[in-house]
């Protein structure tokens, strides 16, 4: 016979601590979300690379850290895997208290909403542990809600969620480029598995995610021309700048979501995410090559700091300033 069974309780991680409340209804909600977090800690998707329909936009294995990264569109990902990925997003946001536990409980959700059929397709990048199949990181490129592509300054265009939350128009300034809203994508949920211990996987996951979306942008060329979103200074914004994105950041906004929106808590934090927009850099392939060669050990770079220095050095050499800023205002 073969080796022993997988441990019934998961991979040996300690059980999620369940906060309690004096209010029975609140206790049930907290227990529910603790169970949903634990559910997703238990699920793994080792077969996902083989189950992608057609050719993924990106597929790479990092044998040094035991990570596999895949980038694919909505329709390429079989339904149960897509629910799993959206469930990972929900679980991480629950861990971070960026999503309302009460609303998740009331709607009996165990994953974020599925994409609606018939619209443009979003693009998902997932990094998996090659040994366990667990999702270690995720970033999404979310498409426009417009049924047809509209000019960026069209009054009829749908605001991207970031624009709606911050009350600003990020795209009007790019109308001169004669782009359509279907060429704009919102960067969403740049996330690492919160239960992942510090170590090589922890360090490399964000860069594998950047390689995934970068490769998708290079391949899709004119189909993705602008990226927007909101992010914190020392997390996603830093990675985007190092990857060559010339970020236009809007300062001083007061983002909020209605209480009925499960994501309302994300804007109740001490440090808020800032809205940004950036064209996809023309020299993105150069940045991709630097990061990829460091990660696969084929370059002359011998440390993470050297990689960062090389990336930062190109932007500084190009224009001397990496951070154009703008004060916030109404959309």
């Amino acid at each position: 016979m073969n080796a022993g069974p997988p441990p019934p309780g998961g991979d040996g991680n300690t059980r999620t601590t369940i906060p309690t409340s004096a209010d029975p209804a609140s206790s049930r909600a907290l227990r529910y979300v603790a169970d949903i977090i634990e559910l997703h800690e238990r699920l793994s998707y080792r077969q996902l690379p083989a189950e992608i329909a057609g050719t993924p936009l990106y597929h790479a294995e990092d044998v040094h850290s035991g990570l596999i990264t895949l980038t694919a569109r909505d329709s390429q990902i079989p339904a149960r895997y897509l629910r799993g990925i959206l469930g990972f997003r929900l679980a991480q946001y629950l861990r971070l208290s960026w999503i309302s536990a009460d609303l998740v409980y009331r709607t009996a959700a165990y994953h974020e909403p599925l994409p609606r059929p018939g619209q443009m397709e979003s693009i998902h990048t997932v990094t998996l542990c090659s040994r366990t199949g667990r999702i270690r990181g995720y970033v999404g490129l979310s498409c426009s809600a417009d049924p047809v592509s509209l000019p960026l300054d069209s009054p009829r265009r749908s605001l991207f969620p970031t624009e709606a939350a911050h009350g600003i128009d990020l795209l009007g300034q790019y109308a001169r480029l004669a782009l359509g809203t279907h060429q704009v994508f919102e960067l969403k949920r740049f996330l690492r598995d919160q239960s992942m211990p510090l170590g090589i996987q922890h360090d490399r996951v964000p860069w594998h995610l950047m390689l995934g979306i970068g490769e998708a942008m290079i391949q899709l060329d004119d189909a993705i021309r602008l990226v927007l979103g909101d992010a914190k200074e020392h997390v996603a914004l830093r990675h985007l700048r190092l990857a060559g994105f010339d970020l236009h950041i809007v300062e001083g906004t007061s983002p909020s979501l209605p209480p009925s929106d499960p994501l309302a808590p994300i804007y109740h934090q001490g440090v808020l995410a800032k809205p940004f927009v950036a064209p996809v850099p023309e020299d993105l392939p150069w940045y991709r090559d630097v990061v990829r060669s460091y990660m696969d050990g084929s370059s002359d770079l011998t440390s993470y700091h050297e990689m960062v220095a090389r990336l930062a050095g190109r932007r500084q050499a190009a224009d001397g300033s990496m951070i154009p800023r703008q004060r916030g205002g109404a959309a």
Binding site: M1, L48, A79, R83, G84, Y105
Partner: protein
């Protein structure tokens, strides 16, 4: 008295064509059985009782056998008992023990499917949607209570039944279950316990119990006559605390839920019995098509031909009965009692009869463990025991003959 004959036997079932998604799983199950299980079948049967082959289970999980009945909203295939039964027939034709690993998992899921509770479903059903195999089990039988827990009239007389008591926002479970398939490795169990203070099993209540909770002890594995590819063991509950929201239905509502899930499951179990019968028939047909005695192939001798004809008719009849039963279960709630009981009663008998006849047909070789026919006969006796013995099924069928339709 005349007995009503249903005017519309199978309103949605064409006996010649299965729905495409059901047909697809059936074909994948056949391939799994022939290419993955068949090469291992002797090892699966003759290994020590505690041995369990996760590689085989993983391959079955990959094609969806652990989630065939789980709704698509929770990552399952969303097939009803028709999908489950036809797939399990294919696996059981090679190894019913392997089939029961998946059948028992479905049985553990059944109360969740019947619960109508989206939060309970969301917490447990997606477990089966990942790439690692996960099993479930259904914990009913106890040392002193077997049929007493599935015959409502017996419930007041049940002795020493596992108990449940309410303590704040939790229920505390104490007791022991026996002969529980998959208990050794299941992630959770659907457990039936009697509310403290209710006599016998009249307060039977259904709970979903994660088996990693403090106080759960997975007991020794039983060394069985057949069905050796699956493990049956004890489950001990030492003051196990489960959240109140893990109760299905209400306090004391466990008996009808148990009956409903049994009625669902019997349609699928009849598929397993049919598979056992078919597997034995296939071995007999192969032998009788190769062996020459008296200058003729065995099947040209009239005695043998008569036996093969009887066996074949029984297999086909068993199949038609379980297809009809599965279809009625898939199109009616509560699941009807009559059709699944008839299907299982017939298929269980057919499995023993056909395996016994196959053994005699094959002769001395059939008596050898290496040939594989004696295994099918040993397995056939197991199917007669779980999910309703012939006696229990007879009571169920007779009760249906005398009860009217639609009480309200």
């Amino acid at each position: 008295m005349t007995i009503d004959v249903p005017a519309d036997l199978s309103p949605e079932l064409n006996f010649d064509t299965l729905p495409p998604e059901v047909q697809q799983l059936k074909e994948e199950a056949r391939t799994f059985a022939q290419e993955i299980v068949q090469p291992q079948v002797r090892q699966l049967d003759q290994a020590p009782a505690e041995d369990f082959d996760w590689d085989v289970v993983r391959r079955g999980h990959e094609i969806g056998l652990t989630r065939a009945a789980v709704p698509t909203d929770y990552g399952g295939l969303g097939l009803g008992m028709l999908g489950v039964a036809t797939a399990l027939e294919e696996v059981a034709a090679v190894c019913p023990g392997t089939a029961l690993v998946f059948g028992a998992t479905m049985l553990g899921q059944a109360p969740l499917l019947l619960s109508g509770d989206p939060r309970l479903q969301a917490r447990y059903l997606p477990l089966f949607s990942g790439d690692e195999p996960v099993l479930a089990c259904n914990a009913v039988t106890e040392e002193d209570a077997g049929c007493d827990l599935i015959i409502p009239a017996n419930a007041p007389h049940a002795r020493n039944v596992m108990t449940a008591r309410r303590d704040g926002d939790q229920y505390v479970l104490t007791g022991r279950k026996r002969f529980i398939t998959n208990a050794r490795f299941a992630a959770f169990a659907s457990v039936f316990a009697n509310m403290e203070g209710s006599p016998g099993a009249t307060g039977l209540t259904s709970f979903i119990v994660p088996l990693n909770l403090p106080g759960v002890v997975r007991g020794p594995v039983a060394d069985k006559m057949g069905y050796r590819a699956c493990l049956g063991s004890e489950l001990e509950f030492n003051e196990v605390r489960v959240p109140a929201e893990n109760m299905i239905g209400g306090e004391g509502e466990g008996m009808p839920i148990n009956m409903a899930q049994s009625n669902m499951a019997r349609a699928a179990v009849a598929g397993i019995s049919t598979g056992v019968a078919r597997g034995a028939l296939e071995q007999a047909v192969t032998w009788a098509g190769e062996r020459v005695q008296g200058g003729e192939l065995l099947h040209r001798h009239q005695f043998t031909a008569a036996k093969l004809a009887e066996m074949s008719a029984k297999v086909d009849a068993a199949r038609l009965l379980y297809l009809h039963a599965a279809n009625t279960v898939d199109t009616q709630l509560p699941p009807p009692a009559y059709e699944p009981a008839v299907a299982k009663l017939f298929a269980d008998r057919a499995a023993i009869d056909v395996a016994d006849t196959a053994l005699s047909l094959v002769g001395a070789r059939g008596y050898l463990r290496s040939y594989g026919v004696e295994k099918m006969l040993r397995d056939a006796y197991g199917t007669r025991i779980y999910e309703g013995t012939p006696e229990v099924l007879a009571l169920t069928i007779t009760e249906s003959l005398y009860s009217g339709d639609d009480a309200e």
